[in-house]
């Protein structure tokens, strides 16, 4: 049966553009130029974060636009990722010869990197340092180029990039997916260009296939998909589209996914899903007043006077202890209720994915707050940056241009949290429905209760007055 839903590639103009083989480059070039401007301004511009393009664009606009795009469309940031443009250029000189080591073909490295970035963000107050932000961008480029110069395929995207993993997990709740239009066409296809690449008569690859090892006919959902559209370009039957689908539905099914495997057996992916959700809470916790009281309390109880161990302890509590208790307890109760033979760990892994919609709602609320309240701030900062070059070609900076009032944005914040909770309820319900026995409703209630607890915590955090501080061990 052909897919009958909305197909972005069938939309006039936009569809034609995305179908064009240079579309990705056209999207990447402006972002690369913007990255260069951000790095230069971060290194040589004003040291005050609100007046620097590196910090404004990284921590306000990029994050806000990223989650908005994931909410309304899909993983289009990876499509336009400037790192891959540089990598492709470097690969013309350095052809990678190695395959990514088998024992590292999972998400553990990227998970550690994601947690590390969240940790360093808090420890070094990255939001307040244009210089550090610029170096973070430089290091990101260097890492992508170095890894993909040594290792074949999209090793950096699939196994290392923390932003990529964030996008993969978040895109499970996106409304669009790159998928085949008609399975029947794939069944009769003999060349499999979407994975092997399209070749000319001399068998030279003229259009690469999926570098992330996603074979379109057996691909399910957005996990590991960078929306690079290589499969679209490679398919000789024009059978791959960007199709609409029910957001988060892919979290409720558990088929063998090409390039991913069976997600209920992937401890690394489940851990990523949990870090995505609990990390959202932690990241939001870092910007409200109670964290300072909490840190001071830990400092006094443990007799510590340095921030690093205190912050490490908070991360451990939020990202290890809290999920272990909540998810572990819910999985144990589920096992008791259903009498199934699966281990508690296996149940915990399966239900971990149910928390992705809630986590996404918390990220949306948090990043949406910064984005909407600071929506126009890039204008005066850009004016200021240009004026700093000698001539105010964009006019004098209008510092009064900020964004939407906080009380207006609050409504959106609570709305995002509500959508996230409903999403997690629906996924939990579908998973519980698949359980055997007469206790499906009870299983749903158990997991829904955990989601509700986390939602209450998020609601409480968002209702706290924001207090963005760098040094935390002063004044309590």
């Amino acid at each position: 049966m052909p897919e009958t839903g909305f197909d972005l590639l069938r939309v006039p103009v936009l569809g034609r553009f995305l179908h064009w083989r240079h579309a990705r480059t056209v999207l990447q070039v402006p972002l690369l130029l913007l990255s260069i401007v951000m790095v230069l301004h971060g290194l040589f511009g004003p040291s005050l974060a609100p007046k620097n393009l590196a910090t404004i664009l990284s921590w306000v606009h990029f994050r806000g636009l990223l989650v908005a795009t994931l909410l309304f469309a899909g993983n289009f940031f990876c499509l336009a990722c400037p790192l891959m443009l540089v990598r492709n250029g470097v690969r013309k000189i350095f052809k990678p010869v190695w395959n990514w080591p088998r024992f590292l073909r999972n998400k553990w490295i990227s998970l550690v990197l994601l947690v590390s970035i969240l940790f360093l963000y808090e420890l070094f107050d990255l939001w307040s340092s244009p210089w550090l932000t610029a170096w973070l961008i430089i290091l990101y480029f260097a890492a992508a180029v170095a890894i993909d110069s040594l290792f074949k395929h999209a090793s950096f995207c699939k196994f290392v990039c923390p932003i990529g993993q964030y996008n993969f997990i978040a895109a499970t709740v996106s409304p669009l997916e790159v998928k085949v239009r008609e399975q029947q066409v794939c069944t009769s296809c003999t060349t499999k260009d979407c994975i092997r690449g399209a070749r000319n008569s001399e068998l030279v690859v003229i259009q690469r296939g999926c570098e992330l090892a996603l074979f379109q006919p057996r691909k399910t959902g957005n996990l590991d998909c960078t929306f690079c559209l290589d499969c679209v370009q490679a398919c000789p039957h024009d059978n791959v589209g960007i199709l609409s689908r029910l957001p988060a539905e892919e979290l409720t099914v558990d088929p063998m996914r090409s390039g991913v495997g069976i997600i209920s057996r992937r401890k690394d992916l489940a851990a990523l899903a949990l870090v995505f959700c609990f990390g959202a809470l932690l990241n939001a916790f870092g910007m409200v007043r109670p964290i300072y009281a909490f840190e001071s309390w830990i400092a006094s109880v443990l007799g510590l006077n340095r921030e690093t161990p205190i912050l490490a302890l908070i991360f451990f509590l939020f990202l290890v202890v809290e999920p272990l208790i909540l998810i572990g307890a819910a999985a144990w109760i589920t096992r008791r209720l259903t009498g199934q033979t699966n281990s508690v760990l296996a149940i915990a892994i399966r239900y971990s994915y149910a928390f992705v919609p809630l986590g996404f709602g918390i990220w949306l609320a948090h990043y949406g707050f910064h984005f909407l309240t600071g929506l126009f701030t890039f204008i005066p900062v850009a004016q200021y940056a240009v004026a700093g070059l000698g001539k105010p070609l964009l006019g004098q900076p209008r510092w009064s241009w900020v964004g939407f009032p906080q009380n207006v944005v609050r409504v959106f914040e609570y709305g995002f949290l509500g959508i996230g909770l409903v999403g997690s309820f629906l996924v939990t319900h579908r998973l519980a429905e698949a359980e055997r026995g007469n206790h499906r409703r009870a299983v749903f209630v158990v997991w829904a209760f955990v989601a509700l607890l986390l939602w209450c915590a998020a609601l409480w955090l968002m209702s706290q007055p924001m207090e963005m501080r760098g040094v935390v061990l002063i004044g309590g």
């Binding site: 609100p50 350095f94 010869v97 395959n99 110069s149 924001m466 963005m468 501080r469």
Partner: protein, 150 residues
């Protein structure tokens, strides 16, 4: 998972790869060093002048809402400097927040006072932009850490 072909090491290809790898690594390191040096240079701007600016903020600790910033301008000999024009530009250390803008007026010879409305708790940095009557211009930075939201 990705199809698992064993790691392929073709001897000639590998040697060629290594020959090109190390110059690239050195070039990258040189680039990083150059950027660090340039960034360091740009941060070592010289002191504006011999003029001293003594600041005082009330209330202490600062809270969300109105704060008053008093400052005294003195020349190298300690003599008060009158007739300066000063504006106040308060920003949170987090980007994307509304700035607090104000102007200072001279309330006594060399003594200036201005008010700012701080909209949010957290760390603030206030830039005092000063223009002296002889046309000299300079800035002074004042940190307001841990502004309370209650």
């Amino acid at each position: 998972m990705q199809a698992g072909t064993p790691a392929v090491l073709i001897q000639g290809q590998n040697m060629n790869f290594q020959r090109r790898l190390w110059p690239a690594v050195y070039n990258l390191l040189a680039f990083v060093l150059l950027l660090s040096l340039l960034a360091g240079c740009s941060r070592s701007s010289g002191a504006a002048s011999q003029i001293t600016v003594e600041t005082e903020v009330t209330p202490q600790p600062a809270h969300v809402g109105p704060v008053t910033i008093n400052f005294k301008l003195k020349d190298a000999t300690g003599k008060p400097i009158s007739g300066a024009h000063a504006t106040l530009d308060g920003n949170m250390t987090h980007p994307g927040m509304a700035p607090a803008l104000g102007e200072a007026t001279e309330i006594a010879p060399g003594n200036y006072r201005g008010n700012l409305e701080l909209s949010m708790g957290g760390d603030w940095v206030v830039m005092i932009h000063i223009a002296l009557s002889d046309g000299q211009k300079f800035d002074r930075e004042l940190e307001l850490k841990g502004v309370r939201s209650d």
